[in-house]
């Protein structure tokens, strides 16, 4: 685990030294050097895709850095798995606790190292003794019943189980990383958590705290490190900085340059939704005109993706009407919606849109087969021509259109999804998080594609959790909160503050209004099937 090399800087705590990480062609981290000292809370901030999660995963042994190294108290660690990190005393409290549903809290906490008697029988007495001791030592004995089943725990209790796991074990914890721990906690529970974090810090544990909530960060953190586009752009003392300085550090680049500002919206209404109610949204009314880009903003879980899926015919509509080009649309399946002229590029492109083991050609022509076939035979030549046309138009970077989609970078994969719909020429195109996990160059290209689409008269509805993107793209911003529309802003009135205020109307105090408050709440996309291309990876 350790090498006799002399420590370069005898810094105590956990250090990332010139750590870089790339996934295929996307570089998620560029030479990050950062120390998390013991007895301090270091907050890690950054926009969606800035590299926070990648850094956390490297520090906790889940990813190995492409370059650079990780040191604990000046000694290099060679982490090959999360187990190595755990043995070294590095623990992470994941955003989504991993709880085994049908066993007790006690067994959940000690899963993997349960006390046992001869013949490998579970030593229930010892288990009980251990859990009671640990619970009372940490002051959790009132809030956590050790016999309760995992499936019956509240969000806060689930998190406590993860914390207990982190604090127990053979080696004492040296570093504990919290990945957005408050996203599912009530205010009261949050306070209890902060109190606990304070105690852990006083024990000399290095705390890594990832969050978007400014209020929490100023309340807890001693130091704040800001990542942007995979690089460390600032490390500031929490007492000597301001929210606006942090926002400036996080956004930094001049995003305005990425967007193609224009106004080509016509008066012709393409999509007209009236009083739409589904399982996730209530009484939603909105319109999108030809040539208009409307952004659907809101926090994760506000019901934006569900609204998109309902419009695309994949989720049932309880009441209300959808009119497309003046004709009422009753889509009972995605097929009906596609026939009517609606296209949806869904949120999780790997899980919901792409056939990773098929070629760019197959993926591009998936919804245009009817146009390409004669009787039931698909014309290979016309298929190839169509795929090539759109691959060229969207500048998909690949050896050829016969390349398997899994070999492409996130941005190029997203372009293939867009190509699929562009080839079909929909009246209304819904894009759910079109630039998630996409590098900045491809982002700009995707913005250009959206602008071109609008100029050709397509109605575009964009769902995005990145506020700069919402503001840069949209002619109009519709804000959803908790399944209802809380406001609609014209481009002129749409500022980050205004959108956030509507998105969090009765949720959190405006004090938390950071640029990125809406982001990062999703977990990594399920991409177990493929190689190392980044989709959820570089968040």
């Amino acid at each position: 685990m350790t090498t006799p090399e002399p420590p370069p800087a005898t810094a105590l705590g956990l250090t990332a030294e010139h750590v870089s990480k790339s996934f295929g062609s996307v570089q998620a981290l560029h030479g990050v050097t950062l120390t998390f000292p013991p007895g301090r809370v270091t907050a890690l901030m950054g926009e969606n895709g800035a590299g926070k999660s990648t850094l956390l995963r490297i520090l906790t042994g889940d990813h190995r850095p492409t370059r650079g190294r990780v040191l604990l108290d000046g000694r290099e660690l060679h982490l090959t798995s999360p187990i190595d990190a755990r043995r070294a005393g590095i623990r992470i409290i994941p955003q989504e606790p991993e709880i085994i549903p049908h066993v007790s809290v006690a067994e959940n906490v000690y899963a993997g190292s349960l006390p046992r008697r001869a013949g490998r029988r579970l030593d229930r007495a010892e288990l009980h003794r251990r859990i009671t001791a640990d619970l009372s030592r940490l002051g959790f004995d009132r809030v956590l019943d050790p016999d309760r089943l995992g499936s019956r725990l509240t969000a806060a209790q689930r998190q406590l189980v993860e914390i207990l796991r982190a604090l127990t074990g053979e080696t004492p914890p040296r570093v504990i990383a919290f990945d957005e721990p408050t996203s599912s906690l009530s205010e009261h529970e949050t306070e209890a958590l902060f109190e606990l974090i304070g105690r852990l810090r006083d024990l000399g544990i290095a705390i890594v705290y990832v969050s978007h909530r400014m209020k929490e960060i100023f309340h807890l953190a001693d130091r704040i490190a800001v990542l942007r586009d995979g690089a460390l752009v600032g490390e500031v003392d929490a007492t000597r900085t301001t929210e606006s300085e942090l926002v400036r550090l996080m956004v930094g680049r001049d995003l305005a340059g990425l967007f193609v500002r224009q106004h080509v919206a016509t008066e012709r209404v393409v999509l007209d939704v009236r009083h739409l109610t589904t399982d996730a949204v209530r009484d939603v009314s909105l319109t999108v005109r030809a040539g208009e880009v409307v952004a659907l903003a809101g926090l994760i879980g506000a019901g934006r993706s569900e609204l998109a899926l309902a419009l695309a015919g994949d989720l049932p509509i309880r009441s209300g009407t959808v009119t497309l080009n003046g004709r009422p649309l009753k889509a009972r399946s995605p097929r009906d919606a596609i026939e009517a002229g609606i296209g949806l590029a869904p949120e999780e492109r790997k899980a919901q849109a792409l056939l990773l083991h098929r070629t760019i050609r197959d993926n591009t022509t998936l919804v245009s087969q009817r146009r390409l076939r004669r009787w039931r035979f698909v014309s290979r030549a016309r298929e190839r021509a169509l795929a090539q046309e759109y691959a060229d138009r969207l500048r998909v970077r690949a050896p050829s259109i016969e390349a398997e989609v899994r070999t492409l970078s996130g941005g190029n994969q997203q372009k293939v999804v867009l190509a699929r719909w562009l080839a079909r020429r929909p009246e209304l195109l819904i894009l759910d998080e079109p630039t998630r996990g996409v590098d900045i160059g491809a982002k700009a290209e995707i913005y250009q594609i959206i602008a071109d689409l609008a100029r050709e008269g397509t109605a575009v509805l964009v769902i995005s959790s990145e506020l700069p993107e919402v503001l840069g793209l949209a002619d109009r911003v519709v804000v959803l909160q908790n399944g209802r529309i809380t406001g609609e802003l014209d481009r002129a009135d749409a500022t980050e503050e205004a959108v956030l205020a509507l998105a969090m109307a009765d949720d959190l105090a405006p004090a938390t209004a950071a640029t990125t408050a809406t982001q990062d709440a999703t977990t990594t996309s399920p991409d177990a099937t493929t190689t190392d291309t980044p989709s959820g990876a570089n968040r």
Partner: protein, 347 residues
């Protein structure tokens, strides 16, 4: 078997290939497919091995015997390939064939020796059973393996019930059945023609039609397929109906070969053979991947192996062991290629 390395006779093709292999091999591998190449190599090894042990192995007569023997399993392997590409599995194919065999012989006998009625009834029964499989899976939301495991038992039982557990009827006094079992067209046995025709039809369906594209799409990513407007239920039920019909055709051929309707003998174990062939032939058991060409190569390999072992007088119990090993080996190689991580239950 398929671990054997590819021969290095290069056949130039100029498409780029992403896998990391020596440059000379790369183009060849790209044009034929790595899996198929290993199969051809394995087949060559088997042929050379048994051919040198017994010169009769390579005689035209013996090759025809291999082809005929492989036809029934081959038909099932072809449709199993379709089901596996859909991301599902049908382990009731053997029982379906057995049921169809009994039905064909019994209807033949009871209609006063009408071969068309016997065959038609068998095919209808097969289609019905296949539809039932599909309906149970789709509308009952039963895992395909479990649903067809139930089918494996139930259809076998059904065949035994209607036949009283005995071989039924005698069909070899009818010219149609005789033609099916012993006839030749252009020097090739009818049975082999049937396999070739069915395989060609399914190959065309999978490769050249939008139906085939949609089948690969739904097996590769069912959510994506659904959001692309593909009616998943229709395709899955059709795949099972096709499987039932072709399994019934295999059952009819079984009747023709043995001369009577066989409830169990001759059809038992066909599910294993068909799945082994499909897996060896390169079908991803997760779905979305596989070709008829690969499956046919695997059928040829399995047929040659079985025949060679029999010719060498090796106990058929050993052949079962060999078949089990082959199935596991095929999947292990596949998973290694996918770089599946060795943690917990495999995907």
């Amino acid at each position: 078997m398929s671990a054997t390395e590819a021969p290095s006779a290069p056949r130039p093709k100029d498409r780029p290939e992403p896998e990391r292999r020596p440059a000379g091999l790369r183009t060849l591998v790209a044009s034929v497919g790595g899996q198929n190449l290993s199969l051809i190599a394995a087949l060559a090894v088997v042929v050379v091995l048994f051919g040198s042990l017994n010169p009769n192995f390579l005689s035209w007569d013996n090759i025809q015997v291999i082809g005929e023997a492989a036809t029934i399993a081959g038909l099932l392997a072809v449709v199993q390939t379709v089901v596996i590409i859909c991301g599902a599995l049908d382990i009731s194919v053997g029982s379906q064939a057995g049921l169809a065999s009994v039905v064909s012989a019994m209807v033949f006998t009871s209609t006063g020796s009408s071969a068309p009625l016997g065959i038609g009834a068998a095919l209808l029964a097969g289609a019905a059973v296949g539809l039932l499989n599909g309906a149970v899976i789709i509308h009952g939301r039963v895992n395909p393996t479990i649903a067809t495991l139930a089918g494996l038992a139930a259809y076998k039982g059904l065949a035994q019930l209607v036949s009283g557990g005995r071989a039924q009827g005698f069909v070899l006094n009818d010219p149609v059945f005789v033609f099916l079992s012993r006839g030749k067209i252009a020097g090739l046995p009818t049975m082999i023609w049937i396999l070739v025709l069915v395989a060609a039809a399914v190959h065309v369906l999978l490769t050249y039609t939008d139906i085939g594209r949609n089948i690969y799409a739904l097996g590769g990513n069912d959510t994506a397929a659904r959001l692309a407007g593909i009616n998943l239920n229709k395709y899955l039920i059709s795949a099972y109906a096709l499987t039932g019909t072709v399994a019934a055709l295999a059952g009819v051929l079984l009747t023709a070969r043995t001369g009577s309707g066989q409830p169990v003998s001759g059809s038992e174990g066909l599910e294993l053979q068909s799945i082994t062939a499909a897996a060896l032939g390169g079908c991803a058991l997760k779905g979305g991947k596989g070709t008829i060409g690969g499956t046919l190569l695997a059928v040829a390999l399995l047929g040659a192996l079985q025949n060679g072992l029999t010719v060498q007088g090796i106990n058929s119990f050993w052949q079962n062991v060999a078949q089990g090993l082959l199935l596991v080996a095929a999947v292990v190689i596949q998973q290694r290629r996918n770089r599946e991580r060795a943690i917990g239950l495999p995907a």
